[in-house]
Symmetry: C3
Subunit: 222 residues, 3 copies
């Protein structure tokens, strides 16, 4: 599913957006040096795919072996390191790219999981893990409760996008229309994410727990 | 070793207890949404087995591939999300189930490690990792120093239970009496854990470091 | 590359130094019991090699399967637990051993990665990961932002040492002079690390971010 050039280009664009966004979050949150900023950008970008491949037993992980992913991720981290102040003006663009990355990672992640023969529930989980795993590892390293667990609509669009891929596959649609189905699922994920960002929608909280006025936009990477 | 139905049922019961307990700990400690609570319940329940299988190279991990574990874990997390307040009355029952889960995971984890041919020291470590790994990952995600590292008797009963399995195996007892030996080792682990909980026993602290009056019961999941 | 006895002895010495240093850092930073201190010492010592082997798909990980590494690591952790106060006098010696461990791990890690056929960029990254991975996991578990991301020259000497191994390999020098090349690269890594420690050099920070007077020596394990 990741073979067609159009998906590869989109996947690399998502990798770049994740690295940029992840490194910017790291710069703003913790006092890191150049090694730390670039490392966290790269982890945000390729961490989700690595966790997916570890759980699939598809080692060494594809995004680690393919130098293009590493180079694009390192480039995004370096740009964030050099221009962290100037990039504040592009918050909206970076949010857009990040939502695109989330969507593509969820869809290609679920597709790869299906190819390797796991069940539908596992494929949906692995799609979401591909999308949110890198940002989660980054948040752990800079001592934040991962925002994906606490605020905003981030995991849910990824789960929906991955579920659409799995549904299309089990309905036999994907073999005929692989790339269009993948792009359609990614667009749905992207739209849910952008609507959630715009209206600052949060996923439900446990009943009876008072809600903090977090209002966090959650726009901080994979 | 995990084939006999009685062990499978017990393993699933432990999975449920870990998910319930792990998700409740997450609800009480951090401000999470429904995705966060269920995710942390599932990680608590199947995380230890996943780390064990990664270290054994037995990929994809068994508890991840088997939908029954995922379903039971997700169910435990969902129940904790919905009824987190009401479940406060059942603290003692949940402690019991959690100790049972710890015991079963340590014993089946050590057994699986032996089956896959690692040495006795590694099998004991992997038994304990199966029991405590999931709760450790959960604690890292919600920004707590893992309680297994700092208070209560939690890792030690798991190590003892795993060591009994390894000793029985090297003594040739397990081939004759697989399930009884496993259950016996689990009962020993369970009793040490419950005695430690009841009397609030802590493992030794480094000499010369003043001891905090922590007195934490440590009853917070795998 | 890790076969010759001289490299094995040095590797085990590095393992011991990492365990000692990692466990001491754990004792000083968090309130842990004996299980926690020894566990964190062992994770500091063998964690980097385990992450490397997971990323290489070389499972079960070599430092986990080989009981000598586990025994040396557990011994270092136990000594740190028992003598944490007395060891304060040996800070300089422990720093030396830790720098030696970093150097050897970076070099042997890059060598193993090359043997298993990954590309040069990946081999350099895996060399550095072998050196700094264990300390990073320890820092996450005791709730510190990993010092390797924020202060001191720690990752950079490891990257340089690993890069020298990769350069020698691609120049065809290693096949003739395996051990001398490895030792030479380790010595370069060691010297950069010691110079950085002595002059308290930090890696560059992002431009425009005010610099904290951290001045941390960063001498806290792998």
């Amino acid at each position: 599913m990741s073979d067609p050039p159009v998906l590869l280009v989109l996947d690399l664009a998502g990798t770049f957006a994740f690295a940029l966004n992840g490194a910017l979050t790291a710069v703003r949150t913790a006092h890191l040096d150049i090694v730390g900023v670039i490392t966290l950008g790269m982890i945000t970008a390729v961490g989700g795919g690595i966790i997916r491949d570890v759980l699939l037993g598809a080692l060494p992980p594809a995004t680690f072996v393919d130098w293009r992913y590493l180079a694009v991720a390192a480039g995004g981290g370096l740009i964030a390191f050099l221009f962290s102040r100037g990039l504040d003006r592009f918050t909206r663009l970076i949010d857009l790219l990040d939502a695109a990355g989330l969507s593509l990672f969820a869809v290609t992640g679920a597709g790869k999981a299906l190819e390797l023969g796991v069940g539908p529930a596992q494929a949906i989980i692995l799609g979401a893990v591909t999308g949110v795993g890198g940002g989660t590892v980054r948040d752990v390293l800079i001592q934040r409760v991962p925002s994906v667990l606490s605020s905003g609509l981030y995991a849910i669009p990824a789960l929906v996008g991955a579920a659409l891929v799995v549904a299309a596959e089990s309905g036999g649609i994907s073999t005929l229309l692989g790339v269009p189905v993948a792009l359609g699922a990614a667009v749905v994920c992207f739209l849910i994410r952008m609507v959630g960002l715009h209206f600052e929608i949060d996923a439900p909280k446990p009943p009876g727990i008072e809600h903090e006025g977090s209002g966090a936009s959650g726009n901080d990477g994979g």
